[in-house]
């Protein structure tokens, strides 16, 4: 945890996917997820094709399958929820292995699992092939309000600092024999959070003064203007367009 999440997410590489301008990748990922979500859940084969498409992108970007699968573990809480669904949903019931399951619940579970997993996989691929700073530039190019982009960029830059601070405090707690076991320890955690806030806020004030003294006027200068050619847009949108074809097939078949 010490190094912060930020750097572990990105996988350095020089593949064609890495080289695409960030805003085309962002837009393509978003379009892909929208297409996946609007696919009817009965068309099971369509989701298989989507997964194949994503696997193609991963191969293209030289992201190993193990890396992708490990990052997919974040989804586990929803898997637990999806597994429960067939037991609690109403409607027609069906016997599977001696358990009475709801048909609509099974469909719902499949729906959440398939679409959720594909969405997570798409975001993981995006984060693995795009550097953080580029991602923020891309968001700015996509006309997100500049204040939001700035908040996000500061958040990411402070993120590691604060995580480090938190790790130091945790090690200090643990080296004194502390382990959060129950309600009685909430007070300690809260005092840690309070101290963390004060420490990082004071640090933020110092950083802000340093920035002001170097001429910061409330906006970051953009040095490298990222533009995307038509070919790059086309390249990036291969994925969502292919997905759209699958989706249309899914609706018609």
């Amino acid at each position: 945890m010490g190094a912060g999440h930020a750097h572990r997410l990105y996988r350095h590489g020089h593949s064609p996917v890495h080289g695409l301008p960030p805003h085309t990748k962002l837009a393509a990922t978003f379009a892909f997820v929208v297409v996946v979500v609007s696919t009817p859940r009965e068309a099971m084969w369509a989701f298989g094709l989507y997964a194949a498409l994503l696997a193609g992108v991963a191969y293209h970007a030289r992201v190993p399958a193990g890396f992708l699968l490990k990052r997919l573990l974040i989804e586990v809480p929803f898997v637990a929820f999806a597994v429960l669904m067939p037991f609690v949903a109403e409607g027609e019931r069906v016997e599977v292995l001696g358990m009475s399951l709801s048909v609509s619940g099974l469909w719902g579970a499949w729906n959440v699992l398939a679409k959720g997993t594909l969405g997570v996989a798409a975001s993981v691929l995006l984060a693995a092939t795009t550097e953080l700073r580029e991602l923020l530039l891309g968001l700015e190019r996509l006309k997100l309000p500049p204040l939001l982009v700035q908040i996000a960029s500061f958040m990411i830059r402070y993120g590691d600092v604060i995580t480090d601070e938190m790790r130091r405090m945790r090690i200090a707690r643990e080296s004194r024999g502390f382990e959060a076991r129950g309600v009685r320890h909430w007070g300690v955690l809260a005092k840690s959070a309070g101290a963390l806030f004060i420490r990082s806020y004071e640090r933020g004030e110092r950083v802000h003064l340093a920035m002001v003294s170097r001429g910061y006027t409330g906006a970051m200068p953009v040095i490298d203007e990222v533009t995307a050619s038509r070919a790059q847009w086309a390249h990036a949108f291969t994925l969502p367009l292919a997905a759209l074809v699958v989706c249309l097939l899914g609706w018609t078949l």
Binding site: L9, F78, V88, K115, L126, A193, L196, I198
Partner: protein, 356 residues
């Protein structure tokens, strides 16, 4: 509570997306007022802080653990507008980078976890701080209540979205029961940690707590063993201070007792009223509490919770809805009251009334 893709159907996602965008636009406007020229760096810092704090898991009884949502904490520490922005940015980054919460469900997530928690928490916090005596402790208490209500409120709003645009037909009663039951527990944790955190910050740097700005004590000097107000430049206009203050405290006491009574009525009495439908009026109160505690324990493990008849949870959520209803009503009522009073005092040119 991050909602994944495909959980809420497309029209509802679009609608919540519009709500979220509007809320963020309003907050962008308001945040400049709260943090003046330091907006972006410090808001980014607070976002990073919220992000870090969301990783701080706290154990909720029996093997479950929850993490802070942070909406209430952000609202109290840096103000509601900046709070909405910070939590929204955290959610955006979590969606894009950490794949936590779906991209198409971003509107749902922002509305739920950034807007509802922050607004509910602040709408409760502000009047409470004004009503309670002007001490540090009352800020802590107010933040406890605000955070406590904000989490189940967000769970309720999620249930509402689910009712409108859920993709599976699990009955709404079950979803509401499970969501509110679990999030009530998480809410207690969130409340305790928020209150203690705010308390810890206020003890060291009270100037950093946005919600406690009006709390600065007058400087007092000890002269011959008695505490005397230090002469202030604006002493003259505060000359006739004692009489209205006394009047205000009594009215304040009345307000507090009214608020507490209605909260107790709405929250707990309605709980008991429906908890014992077969007329067990003579059961001692502590028996009732024992029973409630057991139900809470069941509510812990979701499976048991789903499986057990959901009447218990309906009661729970009923009582909770009562509390939230009272909270919202009180907030709205006092809001109107203050707006009217502010208007009146703005019309009045004399500085005495504006300083109250």
């Amino acid at each position: 509570m991050h909602v994944p893709d495909g959980f809420i159907d497309a029209p509802t996602s679009v609608a919540t997306g519009a709500v979220a965008a509007a809320a963020v636009a309003v907050s962008l406007r308001g945040a400049r007022r709260e943090l003046d020229e330091r907006t972006a760096p410090l808001a980014g810092l607070v976002a990073a802080f919220i992000f870090a704090v969301q990783m701080l898991n706290f154990p909720v009884a029996a093997g479950t653990s929850g993490h802070l949502l942070g909406g209430a904490l952000a609202a109290i520490l840096v103000g509601p507008y900046t709070g909405v922005l910070c939590v929204s940015v955290v959610l955006l980054m979590q969606g894009i980078l950490f794949a936590d919460g779906g991209l198409t469900a971003l509107g749902v997530n922002i509305t739920n976890m950034a807007v509802v928690t922050t607004v509910v928490a602040y709408a409760l916090f502000r009047p409470l701080v004004k009503l309670l005596p002007r001490t540090r402790r009352s800020v802590t208490i107010a933040s406890f209540v605000a955070a406590l209500v904000s989490v189940p409120a967000s769970a309720l709003v999620f249930t509402l979205m689910y009712a409108v645009g859920g993709t599976t037909d699990v009955s709404i009663g079950k979803v509401a029961g499970a969501m509110v039951g679990v999030h009530l527990l998480i809410g207690i944790g969130e409340a305790a940690i928020t209150a203690l955190t705010v308390g810890a910050v206020i003890a060291v740097r009270p100037d950093l707590v946005y919600g406690a700005r009006g709390l600065r004590q007058r400087l007092q000097l000890r002269v011959n063993g008695a505490l005397v107000d230090a002469p202030a430049p604006d002493e003259a206009r505060d000359g006739a201070r004692t009489a209205p203050v006394a009047a205000r405290t009594s009215r304040r006491a009345l307000w507090i007792s009214g608020l507490v009574t209605s909260l107790v009525l709405a929250g707990f009495v309605s709980f008991y009223a429906s908890a014992n439908p077969d007329g067990l009026e003579k059961v001692a109160a502590d028996h009732g509490i024992d029973k409630k505690a057991e139900e809470h324990d069941y509510a812990d493990s979701p499976l048991a919770d789903y499986g057990v008849k959901d009447v218990d949870d309906a009661r729970l959520s009923g009582g909770l809805a009562g509390v939230i209803g009272v909270g919202v009503t009180v907030a709205a009522g006092t809001g109107v009251f203050w707006a009217v009073r502010r208007r009146r005092s703005a019309d009045d040119v004399s500085p005495v009334s504006t300083s109250v």
